[in-house]
């Protein structure tokens, strides 16, 4: 299957929905036919070729180049293959993806990795609000796979997250891991206000300065060394601040007691 390289000609005036753009969808098409593929720019149908220069790629990957911050739903429900974005991406980046890999060199808009269930999504810059969370009205957020945010994360990161691993190399906004059902979130930098609000189960790991603990969390200073080594060694392979995790020892807090208290907030700040 041929890959495709789409180079943005100029930034559009309105938002463009790229959910129909994938290597799989273009499997039987030549470059001219890909250029005629219709996407929506606001409520107007435009040909992909009007927005991008289209060129085939031998490696089978989908490459997007340019400032794509107005392009939404890149990698929507991706089920395999690789998408590389050289620049920023719009909203819903990798939303609902179940397999494959998306690497964006820049930042992502709202709801990146929301309801992601597998694969790997790497955001080189910042992630907007509601990353790794749920689509509006849905009960479960991110439910599998690995999300890496090299920059900072916005608010409500991992809202209703159920499974999978989400790492933030920078700081995180307010209400991280709100209503979290399960899974693992680790933040190298600072946490915003109200971390793990309404958390039911799962793990929120804060490597940075001590977060202001919610009053509905309770200290539980017991040995979880076995589990910690399994988790820390797995996170360490992502490098950066996570590299030295196996050598450190976490402090454990249980909560949110208002939601059963089976979640855990681990801090390393001491």
């Amino acid at each position: 299957m041929s890959g495709w390289k789409l180079t943005l000609k100029q930034a559009p005036a309105l938002r463009v929905d790229l959910r129909s753009v994938s290597v799989a969808a273009f499997a039987d098409l030549d470059a001219a036919a890909v250029g005629r593929h219709v996407v929506h720019h606001g409520n107007e149908a435009v040909a992909l070729g009007d927005l991008f220069t289209v060129a085939p790629q031998a490696d089978g990957e989908l490459r997007l180049e340019g400032d794509l911050s107005k392009f939404d739903r890149i990698g929507w429900q991706l089920a395999g293959g690789t998408i590389r974005i050289d620049g920023d991406a719009g909203d819903y980046l990798g939303a609902g993806m179940s397999s494959g890999e998306i690497v964006a060199s820049g930042s992502a808009g709202l709801l990146a990795a929301c309801e992601m269930s597998g694969g790997r999504l790497e955001i080189g810059g910042d992630a907007g609000d509601f990353a790794a969370s749920a689509l509006p009205g849905s009960m479960d957020g991110m439910r599998g796979g690995t999300l890496l945010v090299r920059g900072n994360a916005g608010q409500r990161f991992g809202d209703r997250m159920r499974r999978g691993t989400a790492l933030v190399f920078g700081d995180a906004g307010n209400f991280i891991a709100s209503r979290m059902v399960a899974g693992t979130i680790a933040v190298a930098g600072r946490l915003g206000a109200h971390p793990a609000y309404g958390m039911r189960r799962g793990t929120l790991l804060a490597l940075g300065p001590a977060p202001a603990l919610p009053p509905t969390f309770v200290g539980n200073n017991v040995d979880i060394g076995v589990f910690w080594q399994l988790l820390a060694r797995d996170l360490a392979r992502h490098g950066g601040a996570f590299d030295a995790l196996p050598k450190r020892k976490p402090q454990r807090f249980l909560g949110d007691l208002a939601a059963g208290g089976k979640g855990e907030l681990l801090t390393l700040s001491l």
Binding site: G164, T184, V222, G225, V226, F227, L231, R233, K262
Partner: protein
Amino acid sequence: MELNGITIDDSFAEAFPMKGTRLIVTAHDMTWARHAAVATTGFATSVIACGCEAGIERELSPDETPDGRPGISILIFSMSGKELAKQVEKRVGQCVLTCPTTAVYAGLFDGDPIALGKNLRFFGDGWQASKMIGGQRYWRVPVMDGEFVAQETTWVTTKAVGGGNLLLLATDTAAALHAAEVAVAAMKALPNVIMPFPGGVVRSGSKVGSRYPTLGASTNDAYCPNLREIAKQSELGPDIGSVMEIVIDGLTDADVAAAMRAGLKAAIALGAGSGLKRIGAGNYGGKLGPFLYHLHKLVPGAAA
């Protein structure tokens, strides 16, 4: 064939296909890992009455285990995957879950999956927590010393082989025992095999059938020195006063062969002066088991 004064019978060991898995048990220190592993592999000498054959494969240093603690790898073999799953659940539930500070992980990652912590988690009575780490699911079960961590699944190989064996025939008990100990030590240095009997050695080798209809196996009278002169057919010459057998189970055919080769080499090196006079092997005529290990092909210097 005679090597170093020891007669090597022109015989072969006859072995059977089994299902096997490896478990990694870790603990706070090697003492407690060993307690758990010894208990888990206890009463597991023969599938005839134990349901499985199990043993300690080797000790693992902290850098070889998933959680960085000392551990022990154990191998468990059964005739069927279903029985193996039952045995793993019972043994891990009673002997690892109960043992202070332990955790348990899969030691094989291909083949058919069976439950490891998958059902034991219910001991947590709702407080158990699951965690996906590196694509594997682990269960954290709260217990009185902290938490018991168990991988959800282990995997079963269908290529395992049970019943490789050596018979060591010597002038007296001391010589037979010494030869057996030396051979077992040499085999224990190899991976992927266990010798399931006490100390790796069995003195009650059996033949198929019995004069009592309810028994499927009975004493191997042809190799009993007490019956040397009176059994209908004794395999023992006047110089043999004691016989020991070593039984080997391995994850593959080649592993069992390698263990027999190592055992033969170590025993032959003792020389006839040690009292070891003959080495044989147990079989059923070659028609029952698909794996045949001819001694003459396994002795040192034999063409592989």
